[in-house]
């Protein structure tokens, strides 16, 4: 890629489809759910039966506006739904209800943070609301492809699920950081929709799907080169790899005097390269026209401001603020973000723990057990309040660190809250001087030689008495207090 960048400037563009997590579909009352029995979440309208009419999901509109606001877009005072027409069996009506001009949201931007903390601003052309298509399963062809298949099955459960399509403006100037920017852009969009709560944002389920446009132009040129569109790249890692692979491929073609074909391409994970799809021209004619069944979406300032007031803090800004407040090192903070426990640490601190303690638990024992059990840390069952309670138990010397770690495991096993577990399992540290003194006397009587050595000035020999005491109290003794008692006795 380095070689390619000596000759060419990279131009990127992204179309990201975000599936909204509304209860029902965008234009019907069918349930919006993933993984149900095929064709179980379907109304007559989703199948395009004659005489059916769409209905507008008001929550979907709210979500579209929220997402537009989070992307710093202008919200259209009036926009319409349009019919985008093409024959394909995954669309019940053979047109997709979408938006033409204006989209509900347009002319925005989003700041994307690269690995070294540099901020790259990506301009947003538009974000419009539309409906998803159904899913085709091809039977009999190689690798589930339509080629050579004998028949195809259609599942219309996804048909009509609300989508927001976010279209970026062409992105120039990323150069060698184009793949990194692609990854950071997609994860920023994911963070934003997750923070807004408008999507489940699970990329492996296709909740967020990215089409990456790549073109090259000779350095110094002003006219963009011919672009390719790599469809449905569905992870942040894959989008970086697809962009890099496409830059290298296009540079090779151009270097050898060839021309780039304007086409859609498909990302193939196994070969880590893109494969040619269908040719695509700007003249693809979808015969858009305003949907006569659906009236205009008319927004007003009060509505928009109500939604704006509801917006969560921008994820990039939030991270900067938290890093500052918590005083973590860059490495520590990056690890926290990568581990996906930023929210948990924040809640834990809010609940009363110190940033250092919150980080220690979420990145330490909780993460370790979660990893062992193959779940994410926040799904382990340990709450921020539990962490605060454990810290308190340590601070008042009810338990020690070692037992605290055991308590975390017991919480994960569903045994209850920390104090209950400590009580039920009799895990409290023995700090009762009577019991400790008896154990110390016993240990001294059993080890007269050690006592002699301590009396002779060998203070480090104290450890040889603490061991038996801890053993006798099943590890629940406060080691510091044991030491003090020994020294008093021998004193």
């Amino acid at each position: 890629m380095k070689k390619a960048l000596q000759t060419y400037e990279v131009v990127l563009g992204f179309e990201v489809h975000v599936e909204l997590n509304t209860e029902t579909k965008m234009f019907s009352t069918a349930t919006n759910a993933f993984g149900d029995q095929p064709n179980s979440n379907v109304t007559a309208g989703d199948l395009g039966l004659p005489g059916t009419l769409p209905t507008i999901n008001a929550v979907g509109i709210d979500y579209g506006i929220k997402l537009g606001l989070a992307l710093n877009c202008t919200i259209a005072p009036e926009s319409r739904f349009a019919r985008k027409q093409y024959f394909y069996p995954d669309l019940g009506k053979n047109y997709q209800t979408s938006q033409e001009e204006p989209a509900i949201a347009y002319d925005g931007w989003v700041d994307v943070e690269l690995d070294d903390g540099e901020i790259f601003r990506v301009e947003i052309e538009r974000a419009h609301i539309e409906e998803d298509a159904g899913k085709l399963t091809h039977i009999g062809g190689a690798g589930g492809r339509i080629h050579d298949s004998s028949s195809s099955l259609v599942d219309y459960n996804r048909a009509g699920v609300p989508l927001v399509e976010i279209v970026s403006k062409p992105i120039v100037g990323a150069g060698g950081r184009a793949p990194e920017l692609a990854r950071a852009y997609l994860s920023t969009i994911r963070d934003i929709v997750k923070a807004l709560g408008v999507s489940d944002a699970r990329m492996e389920r296709g909740n967020i799907r990215c089409d990456a446009n790549v073109s090259l132009m000779p350095i110094g040129a002003t006219e963009f080169g011919t672009r390719t569109e790599t469809k449905n790249v569905n992870s942040t890692r894959a989008v970086a790899a697809a962009v890099e692979s496409e830059i290298i491929r296009q540079a090779k073609v151009l270097d050898s005097g060839g021309t780039i074909t304007q086409e859609t391409r498909h990302w193939e994970e196994e070969s880590r390269s893109t494969r040619s799809g269908r040719p695509k021209s700007d003249a693809d004619d979808y015969r858009y026209f305003p949907d006569p069944d659906l009236g205009p979406i008319v927004t007003d300032a009060a509505w928009i401001e109500r939604l704006r007031a509801d917006l969560p803090e921008n994820p990039v800004q939030r991270r900067r603020r938290l890093r500052e407040e918590w005083q973590f090192s860059d490495t520590e903070f990056r690890d926290v973000v990568a581990a996906g426990v930023l929210d948990e640490i924040e809640y834990t601190i809010t609940a009363g723990a110190s940033p250092e303690a919150a980080r220690k638990w979420w990145m330490g024992e909780i993460a370790r057990i979660a990893n062992e059990r193959g779940v994410s840390p926040e799904a382990l069952g340990v709450t921020p309040a539990d962490v605060v309670e454990i810290e308190k138990l340590i601070a008042d010397k009810t338990i020690n660190d070692k037992i605290a770690r055991q308590v975390v495991g017991h919480i994960a096993d569903g045994e209850g809250r920390p104090a209950d577990i400590v009580a039920a399992r009799s895990l409290a540290v023995v700090s009762d001087d009577g019991a400790l003194t008896a154990a110390v006397e016993e240990a001294m009587a059993a080890n007269p030689d050690v006592v002699e050595r301590i009396q002779g000035g060998h203070m480090q020999a104290v450890g040889a008495l603490i061991g038996p005491v801890m053993k006798a109290t099943k590890g629940q003794a406060d080691a510091g207090r044991v030491r003090e008692i020994i020294l008093e006795k021998i004193g």
């Binding site: 007559a44 199948l47 395009g48 039966l49 004659p50 005489g51 059916t52 009419l53 769409p54 209905t55 507008i56 019919r83 027409q85 024959f87 069996p89 019940g92 009506k93 053979n94 047109y95 195809s152 259609v154 003249a283 004619d285 015969r287 858009y288 026209f289 006569p292 069944d293 659906l294 009236g295």
Partner: protein
């Protein structure tokens, strides 16, 4: 006098007076059902009638039979919308208007013949009403079709304000103009049917949320009407004479008239033709042989082959021509040269009517023109469809009024029909 000679209102009165039964009414009509019907709903209609006779319904019109144009979907009867593509198809869901008729206890005699997807003037519903095979009918009016057929068969059709009656379950032809319309032999009967069907429906996003009051009947004294003074070229002498007759009756009833000409209407037919074909082409895309209707599968067919063959075999010539025209109208280039100008003409027509209604309460023009071929009926009829106005075709007069003024249309229509009392019998 045979029961079928009565108006719907008279039938209802006789039922309430105990002078006839719903079963007798249904039987009398079923006995004369003709080729105007594509499906006779004998058992179901008689069952509903028996329930009415048993006192299970209290709507004033319960027991008075009705027919449905075959563009309205029903779960008990097939719906073909005049197309071989749908022949034999039974909808899994019911149109809102059918639900309202059932809830009021009106026995549905059957479904009537219709031009393919309702895009033409051939209407078994009008024929059945004119021939006393049903007192009234529920049909669709697209760009004037139902009003034009009414003028030709001598019955009354009153198209409500767009959105007054739910379109849910009406097989869509031209979504922005399709309007469920009552057809009857008298204005009073059309209005009675209208009152059963009208009202907001959450299943139709274009449905109007409005408190409708059609009950008042205070005559037309003091109403100002815009009229045509000079016989237009496309209006026959007979049609002109009928029109003038109607206007005179309105004068006699105390109406004030003044000449009104809406210039934008000159382009109404062309605009309706372009917009109509465009919407029609998109609405018919769902007829692809995949999920419903008659699939044709050629040997070694791809899905595209199935779509092509199913549409090819299922659609008639006029439908194919209109789909191709509409597809062209929305294509790059033509959308700018034809479709968008047609939309601008539509806006001008809406604005012209709005301006006219600042001066007059309603407009009346001759209901029939000699250009009435296919669905390109009377210019004023098309204008009312483009502007979504309530409009009636009665005794040679076409009446339209501002949106929501459906009640005024009925009042004017009632006066006009008195001039030709007995003409439709």
């Amino acid at each position: 006098m045979s029961l079928t000679q009565l108006t719907a209102t008279e039938m209802a009165e006789k039922l309430r007076a105990g002078e006839t039964t719903a079963v007798e009414l249904v039987t009398a009509h079923l006995d004369v059902a003709s080729e105007a019907f594509v499906h006779v709903n004998r058992e179901d209609a008689l069952a509903v009638a028996a329930d009415v006779d048993a006192g299970k319904y209290d709507h004033p019109l319960a027991g008075v039979p009705v027919v449905l144009s075959d563009v309205i979907v029903t779960t008990e009867m097939p719906t073909a919308a005049g197309s071989a593509y749908l022949d034999g198809w039974v909808s899994p869901y019911e149109a809102t208007v059918v639900t309202r008729l059932r809830e009021a206890g009106l026995p549905i005699l059957g479904k009537t013949r219709v031009a393919e997807f309702g895009m033409g003037n051939d209407s078994g519903a009008h024929e059945a009403v004119a021939k006393h095979q049903a007192p009234f009918a529920v049909v669709s009016d697209t760009a004037g079709t139902a009003r034009h057929s009414a003028a030709e068969t001598g019955v009354v059709a009153v198209k409500p304000t767009y959105g007054a009656i739910s379109r849910y379950g009406l097989v869509a032809a031209v979504s922005s103009m399709d309007t469920i319309t009552p057809v009857a032999r008298t204005t009073a009967d059309a209005k009675a049917l209208h009152e059963i069907l009208v009202g907001a429906d959450q299943l139709d996003p274009t449905s109007l949320h409005h408190e409708w009051d059609l009950a008042t009947d205070t005559g037309v004294d003091g109403v100002t009407l815009g009229i045509t003074v000079t016989q237009p070229d496309n209006v026959s002498d007979d049609a002109w004479s009928a029109y003038q007759h109607g206007v005179r009756a309105l004068h006699d009833a105390g109406i004030t008239t003044m000449e009104v000409t809406l210039e934008s209407l000159d382009q109404a037919r062309q605009a309706a033709h372009i917009i109509g074909a465009a919407e029609f082409s998109a609405n018919l895309a769902k007829f692809d042989g995949i999920r419903f209707g008659n699939r044709v599968t050629p040997a070694n067919a791809t899905v595209q082959d199935v779509i092509t063959a199913s549409r090819g075999a299922g659609f008639g010539y006029a439908t194919k021509r209109r789909v191709m025209l509409g597809t062209q109208m929305l294509s790059t280039g033509t959308i700018e040269s034809h479709f968008r100008p047609a939309q601008r003409v539509r806006t001008a027509i809406i604005n012209d009517h709005h301006t006219a209604f600042e001066t007059v309460d309603a407009l009346a023009v001759p209901a029939t023109t000699i250009q009435g071929k296919e669905y390109e009926s009377a210019t004023a009829g098309v204008g009312a469809s483009l502007a979504g106005l309530p409009a009636a075709s009665v005794a040679g007069v076409h009446i339209c009024a501002p949106p929501y003024a459906d009640e005024l249309v009925y009042r004017i229509s009632a006066v006009v029909e008195q001039t030709t009392a007995g003409a439709a019998s």
